[in-house]
């Protein structure tokens, strides 16, 4: 019975909330498209974390990863119960249609990945984020971006390279692992 909470007592929950609730709420809002429901999901996650605190083993993984694992289950349960599934992020008609053809669970997985990559893009430096936004999302020519930023075109390319490297690191920090997917 998950009653012992020697590892995650009330002060532990306060600390965990302070450190991770923001990110968790971001993911929940992204997944559920409903701020109120997302708040409920995060609250439920912390209550479950307190309840099963004795099951958290820091040697097996980070507290953050454990909280996100709980949150993922809570979000899935809530989304199933409410038949709420995230809308495709892409505004591309073909890509959007492909996402809509996925099962609800797979769409939630996609929402998790989408949130992770958006969070990753928030974490990398402004210079790096900017070149990815301009060249990839806005599809602007590298020369045009270089002229606007007042840097050589080669520097824009190398910033794109370092941006993707930094993004990969940020994703890995969030538990993403392409070898297991």
């Amino acid at each position: 019975m998950g009653s012992a909470r020697s590892d995650l007592d009330e002060s532990g929950i306060r600390a965990a909330y302070s450190a991770h609730a923001g990110e968790m709420l971001g993911f929940a809002v992204r997944s559920l498209n409903d701020r109120g429901l997302a708040e409920e999901a995060v609250q439920e996650t912390f209550v479950r974390a307190w309840r099963f605190g004795d099951r958290f083993d820091p040697q097996l993984g980070s507290l953050r990863g454990w909280l996100f694992a709980i949150l993922r289950h809570v979000v899935i349960d809530l989304a199933r119960a409410r038949a709420i599934w995230p809308e495709p992020a892409s505004d591309d008609a073909i890509q959007g249609a492909a996402e809509r053809s996925l099962s609800p669970e797979d769409r939630l997985e996609q929402a998790l990945l989408a949130w992770q990559i958006e969070e990753g893009l928030r974490r990398i430096g402004e210079d790096h984020r900017r070149v990815v936004l301009e060249t990839y999302f806005r599809r602007r020519p590298y020369a045009e971006v270089a002229a606007e930023l007042g840097i050589p075109e080669g520097t824009v390319k190398s910033r794109v390279y370092y941006a993707l490297r930094a993004l990969r690191l940020a994703l890995e920090e969030m538990g993403w692992d392409d070898r297991s997917s």
Binding site: R14, L113, L121
Partner: protein
Amino acid sequence: MTARPDDHVRPLLGAFVLGHLDPDQEAAVRAHLDGCAVCREEARELAPVAALLPLADPERLGAPPEPSREMLDQVLSRIEWERGSRRRARRRSVIGRVGAAAAVLALIVVVGQMALEPSEPPQGEVVALTAARPGVLGEAVIHEDPRSTWVEITTSGLSTGETYAVWFEEAGTGERSPLGTFVGVEGDLYISLYSPLPRDMVASIGVSGRDGSTVMEGRVPLPVPS
């Protein structure tokens, strides 16, 4: 000191995996990758990151939502409530004693207010769960929240390591609305779940095994109008 080919090619690998290089540069990078394991590995690491980018919505890159202080307060008050609930549960030391032969599936529903301690939130409705096989005991307590229905289940005798699903049966439609899953453990198990299904739409609560067969169930009485 001359620059190594890697120094020229590596900074192009981001644009390369995004498909942004012109044909000449792309051909040059491909030719380099054929003979350079280090850069090949680098490109292999960047490619899945580039493949994820279409999932992101650039309009969502602003500041993430801020969790409120009230959210934390509600978490702490639920924890405090649950702590008190367990103390009471230990005192009662009662789990609906069911599990008789499946043929005697008399549904026992107990609706009541249990002894309340001062300043504690009101208790929910207690629903005894009727088990389909001997040795399985269960009781649910259903609470009505403004936005959801919250359920606490105390059970024992389920198979250790087995996954079970908890559901509500909706009044009227008879459809099952899932609340969540849990894994059986040795001894008593306490579970707390919630559903967005309004309390007055709940006809019964049940637990099913992996194969979908009902393990235990309890009928939830219609709420008494206040």
